[in-house]
């Protein structure tokens, strides 16, 4: 399997890779037999990079994020996160995770949800440069600090969840289909905002999606995964200039890229 080396972004090439996976395989044993979720995944993302993971359902995209965040131990292969063990990076709070359906604690207000990472984990819970209140302002939720999750729309909940993931200034942000359940208008808006946050914080982002347009618009590179077993099909660099604007999706390069991604996906 060819190594998917993502050595170039528009930023300075970093000395160490933020994420470095070599021949990572994950197998689960279930009552219906063993399943290979990921097979021989090679992957490298430089610090400050933005990689989108695109693939059909069952290709192990979510499993891959869970390997990177030390929630799942790979059956074999090596995982280096920010130059060390994934567990060490997690313990240092260098990893922020944004879940599919926001995963806010329903009994906590927006502000209390953002504050949660500072309350748990004992000595690991160092505060970041920005206060929880400033982070809520960053994601456009000033004035909603005391709202409970059920009082917020799906898009607003996901904004809170992004603010929560940023509270420890993570060097690596993992996003598991964060905008999958949102309407297209909200999703477009949040895509642009996410790119702004990425520019401003300089964090590395791994973004899982099943939307071709989202993958192409956000990523500096798109990693295409094939299903059953989950494996790398192709790594596609995105030729769009930075900073990105939503109108760029009407450009010829973008349309060609999306068409290419679709053709590859059909064979996955």
């Amino acid at each position: 399997m060819e190594a998917a080396v993502l050595e170039q972004t528009h930023r300075q090439p970093a000395a160490i890779a933020a994420v470095e996976l070599a021949r990572v395989t994950v197998r689960f044993t279930t009552e219906r037999g063993a399943i290979t979720a990921l097979e021989n995944i090679d992957l490298s993302v430089p610090e400050g990079g933005f990689l989108t993971l695109l693939g059909p359902s069952g290709c192990g995209k979510s499993t891959l994020l869970r390997v990177v965040s030390d929630l799942i131990r790979p059956t074999s292969g090596s995982v280096r996160i920010l130059g060390g063990e994934a567990s060490a990076a997690r313990a240092r709070r260098d990893i922020g995770f944004v879940f599919q359906d926001a995963a806010l604690l329903p009994w906590r207000t927006a502000l209390e949800n953002v504050t949660l990472p500072l309350e748990v984990g004992g000595r690991n819970s160092r505060p970041g440069r920005r206060t929880p209140k400033e982070l809520l302002a960053l994601v456009g939720l000033s004035g909603w600090e005391n709202a409970l999750p059920h009082e917020l729309s799906g898009g607003m909940r996901q904004r809170v969840s992004i603010a929560r993931a940023l509270v420890n200034d993570p060097r690596l942000l993992l996003m598991d289909e964060p905008f999958g359940a949102l309407d297209e208008i909200t999703r477009d808006r949040l895509n642009e905002e996410l790119l702004n946050i990425w520019e401003e914080t300089g964090t590395t982002i791994l973004f899982v999606t099943h939307s071709i347009y989202e993958a192409a618009f956000l990523g500096q590179k798109v990693l295409l995964l094939a299903a059953r077993p989950g494996r790398v099909r192709e790594t596609v660099p995105v030729p769009l200039p930075n900073p990105r604007r939503i109108e760029q999706r009407e450009s010829l390069e973008f349309i060609e890229l999306a068409a290419h991604l679709r053709r590859v996906l059909e064979t996955c």
């Binding site: 995770f97 879940f99 604690l105 009994w107 748990v120 984990g121 690991n124 905002e193 946050i197």
Partner: protein
């Protein structure tokens, strides 16, 4: 920073000022609220009126079925007696409620952390739960004597099982993503318990507590049937044996009013502490 310039909040101008429409909306809402309150009252009053008329019309003997007015007269006449008997029953029911539920919560917690304990003791709890309260009440009176402790124990046992089952489920049914979040944050087991599992179990706990509020009173009353001289249960037995049906009915009214009051307090506590849980609170 353009992220913060994008409007996230719905602007107030979304709602235009149409006073007439607003007034109509408010009037409909008030009407519906009154309807909801009045209909049960009308239904209750109708039943009482039909009952009263039937007793006179068919000349039913007071010891077979007393007229509501006779019950009301007895209630006023024997108010002191009824209240002195409510005292012990209330104490037994509340103590049993606390004891049974605290035990259930602690055991549910041990179930969640020690599967072995659950595997060993849950079948035992199910077995005990299948025994009717009328069957184990005499056993507990024999074991604990004729004092209050036997009644407290009966009330506790009747509360125990629903809370155990609900609480175990509530502590365990944690959103897997919340669990993953806690693991990413390196949360300690204590933090996971108090900041996630326990909070998550509260809606389950309260639905069990609402059941327990009513059943603990039943437990205390059943306990008093066996050789007790005071309490609502004892008064029920005495009134029955004396063919004093009006007193029997008045006693039942006092007992069920207390149950309803207890239930109301728990519902109120639920509303206060579960504001976030829109699915459960009506």
């Amino acid at each position: 920073m353009s992220a913060s310039t994008i409007e996230a909040a719905p602007v107030p101008e979304t709602f235009s000022n149409d006073d007439a429409a607003q007034a109509r909306f408010e009037a409909t809402r008030r009407y519906l609220a009154w309807r909801r309150r009045l209909l049960p009252v009308i239904a209750t009053v109708s039943i009482l009126v039909i009952w009263e008329v039937s007793v006179h019309l068919f000349d039913i003997k007071p010891y077979i079925a007393p007229a509501p007015t006779a019950v009301a007269v007895k209630f006023v006449e024997k108010f002191g007696l009824l209240m002195t008997n409510l005292g012990p029953t209330a104490i037994e029911a509340i103590s049993g409620f606390l004891l049974g539920n605290i035990a259930a919560v602690l055991i549910a917690t041990s179930f969640v952390y020690q599967r072995t304990v659950e595997e060993a003791f849950f079948p035992v709890a199910v077995m005990v739960h299948t025994i009717p309260v009328m069957a184990y009440a005499p056993i507990l009176v024999l074991l604990l004597g004729n004092g209050m402790s036997a009644k407290v124990a009966i009330a506790a046992m009747i509360c125990f099982f629903p809370t155990l089952v609900n609480m175990t489920r509530g502590l365990r049914n944690v959103n897997p993503q919340h669990m993953e979040l806690m693991r990413i944050l390196s949360a300690s087991p204590t933090e996971i318990f108090f900041k996630l599992r326990f909070k998550n179990s509260l809606p389950y706990l309260f639905s069990a507590l609402k059941i327990a509020a009513a059943t603990s009173v039943i437990g205390a009353i059943v306990g008093e049937w066996i050789g007790s001289t005071t309490g609502i249960g004892a008064l029920i037995i005495q009134a029955t044996y004396n063919f004093d049906s009006p007193l029997l009915y008045a006693t039942i009214v006092v007992g069920s009013c207390f149950s309803a009051f207890f239930f109301g307090i728990i519902s109120w506590a639920e509303r206060i502490s579960l504001k976030w849980n829109v699915a459960e609170t009506i």
